[in-house]
């Protein structure tokens, strides 16, 4: 059941069915992470880095003590939100690769409001408004891609990727123009006044208010997916748009809404990151949006799984900083290799595990006029 005039990229029935299926979820995820770390470490051993020393410093730098631990959590927060952004969209069959741009715009709007454009004497309304505006900025940027797909048939995969670059240069232009900090030629915003920072829950650490909120949001999304009609319908839309349309679900409207929610999540992450952790913004503001896709896949699009994956990636990033600063001087880019190997291994392992299960149950597709023979 396909529609006319739609690009093949848009009509993938069941594109992510295998990612959502729960075959051996937790053992597979943990096994994959371990295997990926092992592979990369042995690769590094080949070029002369001692694996054991790296491991011990990495563990020390990510969970050894209150500061490393809170830093890991603070790094997991934006990853969790961009991961949720990717997860919720993918689950509904919308390929939003644009979390990076939405994250950047959320951060930009939040930092703009809290430094230049919106200054009150009391802090809470500014913080709340800045976060809300950042969230909506992300959502609206995402909707742009939806509109391009709906009315001009531009595949969301491509438009979101291109919009990421547009967003990057918009952010840099504004950081060099109206939002530039005094006394520097670099694209850099002024620092947010300490009164407008997100409050620290544990003094002198980076454990800010946004972190528990993000994790609560993950639980809420889990409930939304598992317990509500909305969650069920978006799953149906993702698994089989044709069937969803026949069942009376407004596929296009649902995908618009999912895209908006996805963008809001990413924008929220950007706003929290700038108000809670960095307190100012530069032209290169992390790769959280792209990493979020990896997080969502590792968590197999399940919000609780995504939370776990975000924690793992946060620890990976924070621990790698310690290894980089130590005498070993391991380049930080290795973290990206680990992340990529995790995704590829995850895809390979689940493909082969599930493939074996399927071979015993595979059936020929039923003829078009045959009804009710979808069970083997």
């Amino acid at each position: 059941m396909t529609t006319f005039h739609s690009s093949p990229l848009q009509r993938h029935a069941g594109r992510f069915s295998r990612l959502i299926s729960t075959v051996a979820l937790i053992p597979l995820a943990i096994g994959t992470c371990g295997l990926a770390l092992g592979l990369v470490l042995s690769g590094l051993a080949l070029v002369g880095y001692p694996p054991l020393a790296i491991m011990s410093r990495w563990v020390d730098g990510s969970i050894g003590g209150i500061y490393p631990l809170t830093n890991s959590l603070a790094d997991a927060c934006p990853l969790l939100l961009t991961g949720l952004a990717a997860g919720i969209a993918f689950r509904g069959g919308v390929l939003n690769i644009g979390a990076q741009g939405q994250f950047l715009l959320g951060a930009l709007v939040a930092v703009g409001l809290s430094t230049r454009w919106l200054i009150f004497h009391s802090a809470p309304p500014v913080i709340i408004l800045a976060i809300l505006a950042g969230t909506f900025a992300g959502g609206l940027w995402a909707l742009l891609a939806s509109i391009l797909e709906r009315y001009r048939s531009v595949p969301i995969v491509l438009s979101t990727i291109l919009l990421n670059f547009v967003a990057l240069y918009v952010v840099r232009a504004i950081l060099q123009g109206p939002l530039q900090a005094g006394g520097t030629p670099a694209p850099q915003s002024p620092q947010i006044a300490p009164a407008y920072w997100l409050p620290e829950l544990i003094p002198f650490t980076s454990f800010h208010l946004g972190i528990p909120i993000a994790f609560v949001l993950a639980v809420l999304f889990y409930a939304l997916n598992q317990r509500t009609t909305f969650g069920f319908e978006s799953l149906v839309v993702g698994l089989n748009p044709g069937a969803a349309r026949l069942a009376g679900i407004g596929v296009s409207r649902k995908q618009f809404l999912l895209m908006f929610m996805s963008g809001c999540c990413a924008g929220f992450g950007g706003a929290l990151q700038v108000l809670g952790v960095t307190h100012f913004m530069t032209g290169s503001f992390g790769n959280y949006g792209y990493a979020g896709i990896a997080v969502a896949l590792l968590g197999r699009l399940n919000p609780l799984g995504i939370a776990g994956a975000a924690l793992f990636f946060g620890m990976l990033d924070t621990g790698a900083l310690r290894v980089e600063e130590s005498s070993l001087a391991l380049p930080h880019a290795v973290v990206n290799v680990v992340k990529a190997v995790v995704i590829l291994l995850m895809l390979l392992l689940s493909a082969y595990l599930l493939g074996r299960k399927l071979r015993t149950r595979q059936v020929d597709p039923p003829p078009a006029n045959d009804q009710g023979s979808d069970k083997p």
Partner: protein
């Protein structure tokens, strides 16, 4: 060629062709792979792999040709990873391609800092050694033609290779049995299987070809056009290639036109960035208040606009992005 004798138009046209060359190279590979039904979103990563492979090998050995060969092989190796997950493992192509981009970003960053350390330890200069980087090669007397000489016949060697390859692939796709098979693979793998064509093997070959092309495009960027490497030096050009294949409606002519259009916008914006300060035309001085980021943004906005105008009602290969054989739904 003395740059002083070049007028603005010649200069712009020459820059356009030069900027379009890596896009054409990578685009040929991507076109073939998409025609067989495999969309390779990791083309950006493959190009980056080519960049770093070419630069480090050429820098270490002093031979540009070794660097080029390594870049092609490295692109094919990473593409093999992609083929193993998506064709043999039937995993999702978009997801796997994203992973490929991340992998290339990480690998190139790691190898680049290892290479820099090695270079420091051996007291080598930070520039490429003599003979490792390519320079422009003029084609005999043709290069002295008034306008076409400098534009088309005084380019880097890979440009000529790209043109020949494009012509060859066009003839193959359009007129031969092999081309029919390639197109059929993307439209109806069922039919191919019924005719006794090994769908997965052919798709593997197409993806490997795309990897080799993207690797060569990366080598063009690092050891030909700039003689330098920078982390993330492809800067989204791979994604632009993806857009251009759709823009050209999966035809070779459309693809090349798109690449030239994109190259023109890119060279125009780069020229404008400096010309607005140096030119004696008062019109251009008015652009001085425009932030240079707006110029950098132009190619991407142009790509989006082109897609929005042209991508209607052309679905492309019918099975693009779908695994073979398809899964039945059990979960």
């Amino acid at each position: 060629m003395n740059p002083a004798h070049e007028n603005v138009l010649t200069f712009l046209a020459r820059q356009t062709v030069s900027a379009a060359t890596p896009l054409i190279l990578a685009g040929i590979g991507e076109l073939v792979s998409e025609l067989t039904g495999v969309i390779d979103i990791g083309i950006e990563g493959l190009m980056l792999t080519g960049c770093i492979a070419a630069y480090t090998i050429a820098g270490a050995t002093g031979h540009g040709s070794l660097g080029l060969a390594t870049a092609i092989l490295a692109g094919m190796a990473v593409a093999a990873l992609f083929a193993a997950t998506t064709i043999s493992g039937r995993a999702d192509q978009i997801v796997s391609g994203t992973a490929l981009n991340l992998l290339a970003l990480g690998l190139s960053g790691t190898i680049w800092s290892l290479y820099q350390n090695w270079r420091e330890n051996h007291d080598l200069s930070t520039a490429l050694p003599h003979g490792a980087g390519y320079s422009r090669q003029a084609v005999g007397a043709l290069a002295r033609l008034p306008f076409f000489g400098p534009v088309f016949f005084d380019q880097y060697g890979l440009f000529y290779a790209a043109v020949l390859l494009a012509a060859l692939v066009w003839v193959i796709i359009r007129f031969t049995r092999l081309g029919l098979i390639l197109r059929a693979l993307g439209d109806s793998p069922q039919t191919c299987q019924a005719c006794g064509i090994a769908v997965r093997t052919w798709r593997w070959l197409a993806v490997l070809f795309a990897g080799g092309c993207a690797g060569a495009a990366g080598a063009y960027l690092s050891i030909m056009r700039t003689h330098a490497f920078a982390t993330d030096m492809t800067g989204g050009q791979g994604f632009v290639v993806l857009a251009l294949v759709i823009f050209g409606r999966w035809s070779m002519g459309g693809l090349i036109l798109g690449c030239l259009f994109f190259g023109a916008i890119n060279s125009l914006q780069q020229t404008l960035q400096t010309a607005r300060y140096t030119s004696h035309y008062a019109v251009l001085h008015a652009l001085q208040s425009v932030p240079f980021e707006v110029f950098q943004m132009l190619p991407y906005v142009a790509a989006l606009a082109a897609l929005a105008v042209l991508s209607r009602n052309h679905p492309g290969p019918r099975q693009l992005g779908r695994p073979w054989p398809e899964y039945t739904y059990l979960s």
